[in-house]
């Protein structure tokens, strides 16, 4: 199952609408092993095509370096289909090379780029095998909720906040 916060979910849809009729693409990075999509990174579709997407090779290197420096991995890799359903194509399956990622597809077909609901679906793609999974959109992630002091429980000792780079 993919658990994703609403702000990121909506930002992905917004990106897909903005780039329609070309395919939009990007990642949501998250701490290694957390399975939590935390940092949305919209990418440029170097192919600038309605039927193909590819990260620019220089952008790709910078992205992975940045994730390395932050101890992150690509938790979600997303792209849009602009005239077909939000289901991995043969090309998507053949080129999927991140076995740990949730592959998200959104479809902006049939006027969805302007208004109305946008299909937002998630898959695992491993060794050519596609498995669709449930998507749960949350307002915020769970331990962000628990990390707040609750009534009746002593407040956690103050923690040195990690500098946000």
């Amino acid at each position: 199952m993919l658990i994703i916060d609403r702000a990121t979910h909506d930002a992905i849809i917004e990106h897909a609408r903005r780039d329609h009729p070309d395919e939009a693409c990007g990642v949501v990075a998250g701490p290694i092993g957390s399975d939590r999509p935390a940092r949305h990174v919209p990418m440029l579709n170097a192919a600038m095509s309605p039927t193909f997407y590819e990260f620019d090779s220089g952008d790709l290197l910078r992205l992975y370096r940045e994730m390395d420096d932050n101890d992150e991995e690509p938790v979600v890799i997303y792209h849009s289909h602009t005239a077909t359903e939000a289901y991995p194509s043969r090309t998507d399956i053949n080129l999927a090379q991140e076995p740990n990622a949730h592959y998200v597809l959104v479809s902006t077909r049939d006027g969805a780029h302007e208004s109305g609901p946008v299909d937002f679906r998630s898959y695992r793609i491993v060794d050519g095998e596609v498995t669709e999974e449930e998507v749960t959109v949350v307002e915020r992630y769970e331990d962000e909720q628990i990390s707040r002091p609750r009534p009746g429980t002593p407040a956690a000792p103050p923690e040195q906040k990690k500098a946000v780079s």
Binding site: T51, E54, F55, L61, H81, S89, L95
Partner: protein, 106 residues
């Protein structure tokens, strides 16, 4: 000569899970041969045999010190002690309508 080679997740089964390995050679092509000697099977995931000889697969990116080797001479790109090679699978795909063929006749 020691060259650091950074291995992407999908190829780590070949390196016993290691994210980076040391290898040697004076060109990227030689480094790949050494990688193959140490981690059998990895070469075929990186290169394909074409009419013009071995070349990096279309959807694999190889960088030497941050330069994509497609722009620096491909497998002939020179490397030396202390260089870092990064291997990254392309992130690509798409609806690829052409591959679905023409619509059925009415």
């Amino acid at each position: 000569m020691a060259i650091e080679v950074r291995i992407p997740t999908i190829l780590r089964p070949y390196t016993g899970g290691e994210r980076a390995v040391e290898s040697s050679g004076s060109t990227v092509g030689e480094v790949v041969e050494q990688l193959e000697a140490d981690h059998t099977g990895i070469k075929e995931r990186l290169l394909e045999d074409s009419a013009d000889g071995w070349a990096v697969r279309r959807f694999v990116n190889v960088y030497v010190n941050d330069e994509d080797i497609r722009f620096t001479g491909g497998l002939d790109t020179a490397v030396s002690d202390g260089d870092t090679i990064v291997i990254l699978p392309a992130v690509a795909g798409g609806a690829d309508l052409a591959a679905q063929g023409p619509a059925p006749l009415p």
